[in-house]
Amino acid sequence: MEKNKTSEDSIKILNRRSFIIIIFAAILSLIVSLRLFSLQVINFNFYKKKSVENKLSIKLIPPLRGDIYDSKKNLLAGSSSLYEFVVFKNLSKDHLHEIKKLDSLIKLKLNFGEISKQLKKYNEYSGFSLSRASWEQIVEFEKNKFLFNSIKIIESKKRYYPYQNFSQIIGYMGQPTQSSEIYSKGVFHLERSYEKHLRGTPGKIFSEVNAKGKTIREISIEKSIKGNDLDLTLDLNLQNYAQSQLPSDKKGSIVVINVSDGSILSMNSNPTFDAQIFEDRKNNKIKDLLNDDQKPLLNRAFSGFYPPGSVFKPISALVGLQKNLIDTKKEVFCKGHSSLGDRKYYCWKKEGHGKVNLKKAIKESCDVYFYELAKKTNIDDIASLSTNLGLNKEYDIGLSNIGKGLVPSKKWKRAFLDEGWYQGETLITCIGQGYNQTSPLQLATLYSAILNGGKYPIPKINKNTPTRFTGKSLNNEHKKIIINSLNAAVQEPRGTAYKLSISNPAFVKIGGKTGTSQVIRIKESEREDDEYKLKQIEERFKDHSLFVGYAPYNNPKYIASVIIENGGSGSAVAAPIAHRVLDFAHKNNV
């Protein structure tokens, strides 16, 4: 190295520059220190919170859903264990190979293309469900367990419906639509309306996770809380018995309610469906069900609306009594038809009933008596009383697609058909035809209202709902007249349902009213003729067969409302069914 005689000036320059750079470095250090102070001291809480959020994972544990019971604590909907083959990517790099092995061992018929596509999207540590595992498959798997590192059998809970006959009341569950939803929700009927009640509270597993989402340790667990149970007013045995009484080849419905508190004891509809197929995700069956033109999802007890036919006549009679249009002793002569203007209105009995008073008119269901009454009646009085007695109403009891029906009035006709009311329409409304639309549940409630003297208990299906009464009181005398006539229809000779008393004398004695509602206008004179056969008429144009009855007739406890679509006459088809169901309810003291 050449030793330079460096000038004093030059050395001074270097030392001065050295000083500048040291100052520069010191300033940089200060900036860095201030920044650290800002991060670690001033904003410490912010970053601490972020760091906790970073590492904390909250996993929800689905709660056990509440059970649903009938009035005697028989299980109608519960939870059962479900076993699935679940693959965990993190447990073996060989997982795709193992899935193929599993498929060849247990014949799961898996779709590999779809599975490997789905698997790619999955977090390594959360399992992917391959397929349901049946008991035999579990046994087979356990025998060969050593072959599989990444596949496990995982238990989860699914909804379990032991009785198909309740599907149309309890409804069913939907599948979670987003991966963030940890449990399925009720989407139909009581499962839907009591969702919050049944659901329960999810538990939480707080755990520390690393950046890849792997759990390092569990910090704490909040247990899940089972949802509340739901006790229904329904009776398992009655529901099953009533279903068995519905002709399997006909659409129809039976509703049984308790007279004193409005409890719905059974509510059947045919055809029905099995809610379990939604839980088991039997997609073909679900598709068939949704496309079935018999509409098995429709519960005809409260979503099916029909003209009530003669079942409606007590309302017309009550209006007549209230408005003093009827003298109970005065008789009307029925010659088989009545005339209004140039039009003839026929009685179902073409030869006529002869002399008819109110009791006979109800008992033998004389149309002419009611035509004569209708000529003096204001349709709005009928609409108003119908509404007071439970028709034209939706009952808010948690059932999906429950309808309101229709009781026509002048105002209604003006609003919906933009037409004035004709008195001729009052005539056919008074015998339950025309615009009238009622559901079997509404008709049962109507008869409950009559038996209770106007103030009637609102129908209920939740056992823990307090009984509430509604409606206006009827004149006690009027009530007695109507009930007497309804009793006579079954108990006295020539009553439209007198046959019930003869054919099954050991059965509980009932009162009630038959109804045959027209689907199309055939010969009106032939409607309620027992002997009349409509075989030559296409099935779907046959009359609907109705009966509403109560038992025991002297101290009513049960009301049964029956409709058989296109069943023919009320006395021949619906009445015997109602009698058997009422007898069953009475004998079993449901």
Binding site: I21, A25, I31, F44
Partner: protein, 367 residues
């Protein structure tokens, strides 16, 4: 070529002590980065250190004259090394930075810094300037710095390239270029930077925007900075304690053993520990510089000043990256980041510093 063995007693052992403390902190830090395990980083780094130690002492014993004489040779060697890297280099993480020599993956760019400083020190020494240096005489060192900057930048390794250029400029500044030139060029750069911006490729603009606001891309390029700030910020005043750094041990921090190793440290030891670490490096920076005031030979002064500055400068740049005040360009934390080339080159620098600190210019050295 070598000095007498007894001159080892003249080494500045305080400096050696501080160096060992910093390396020891680095070891502890790598141990905690692995979640309380020597494997894989701490043990490897220790083995490298022990392996490099003989070389370290050999460099302390080198005759300064030897270093002076071979200054151009060193530069040519790294030039060959860099070109070889570009042609035959081993590619990792999208860049060609390493060449394999005798079983080691060597990052030539790390040694470029040393060779460049030595070369420039000799150049300015030979100038034997009376006063400040004009522009003309600064052109050669400036050109050389830019050439090496470009050679490293196209690997691409922007971080190392920028450090190389910065060191070159610091040498020129320290050696006494007229102040007007650096001020002028600073003014020019600032005034044309908006124009330069339009020349940048969209992805480069993107990077700068993300640096200015990491939340623009929280899971992509901004992720490093966000996670690093969370780790450091959550350390607080006192730190979470040894092995209690949750962010780092749970792998939220990428590259935690290399460029983001400071976040691991700061999460555990907090603001207090960080200030202590900065102080240690600052003291380590000042010790050789104090010696320069006693020296009159330009070569010795430049070697001591600039190489000492290099370690402290890289330290500051690295921390600034992890706390989000500089863009993430990939500069290692001296003696703490995991990596062989960085450790070796910094050990060589320290050995050179120790060597030059023990120079007594009044004695026979310049005979």
């Amino acid at each position: 070529m070598f000095r007498e063995f007894k001159s080892i007693y003249n080494l500045n052992w305080i400096y050696v002590f501080i160096l060992l403390i910093i390396f020891w902190i680095g070891e502890i830090n790598l141990y905690s980065a692995a979640g309380g395990s020597l494997d894989p980083w701490a043990s490897n780094q220790l083995i490298r250190f022990l392996f490099f130690l003989p070389l370290f002492f050999l460099v302390t014993m080198l005759e300064p004259k030897f270093i002076y004489n071979f200054a151009e040779i060193f530069l040519i060697l790294v030039l060959i090394g860099l070109i070889t890297t570009l042609i035959f280099g081993y590619t990792g993480m999208g860049a060609t930075r390493w060449i394999r020599i005798a079983g080691f993956n060597l990052q030539v760019s790390e040694f470029t810094k040393i060779a460049l400083v030595i070369f420039m020190a000799k150049y300015f020494h030979k100038l034997n300037a009376e006063k400040t240096i004009g522009l003309f005489k600064s052109i050669l060192p400036l050109l050389v710095s830019i050439i090496f900057f470009l050679l490293v930048a196209i690997q691409p390794d922007l971080g190392t390239a920028v450090i190389i250029l910065a060191l070159g400029l610091v040498v020129i500044f320290y050696a006494g270029i007229k102040l007007i030139y650096p001020l002028l060029s600073l003014g020019i750069i600032l005034s044309i930077s908006p124009i330069l911006w339009t020349f940048l490729k969209p992805y480069q603009q993107n990077r700068i925007q993300i640096f200015l606001n990491p939340d623009l891309d929280p899971l992509g390029k901004g992720y490093h900075i966000i996670q690093s700030k969370i780790a450091i910020g959550s350390g607080g005043l006192q730190g979470n304690g040894f092995l209690e750094g949750s962010q780092s041990s749970l792998d939220f921090l990428p590259e935690k053993e290399t460029d983001f190793v400071f976040a691991i440290f700061s999460e555990q030891f907090g603001f207090t520990g960080s200030i202590l670490l900065i102080s240690l490096f600052f003291i380590m920076f000042l010790i050789p510089i104090l010696k320069t005031y006693k020296l009159t030979q330009v070569f010795n002064k430049i070697i001591l000043f600039v190489l000492s500055f290099k370690i402290f400068f890289e330290f500051l740049i690295n921390i600034s990256m992890t706390i989000g005040i500089l863009p993430v360009v990939g500069v290692a934390l001296p003696f703490m980041s995991y990596g062989g080339s960085s450790l070796l080159s910094n050990l060589i620098i320290c050995a050179l510093l120790l060597n030059f600190m023990s120079i007594n210019e009044n004695k026979r050295m310049f005979s």
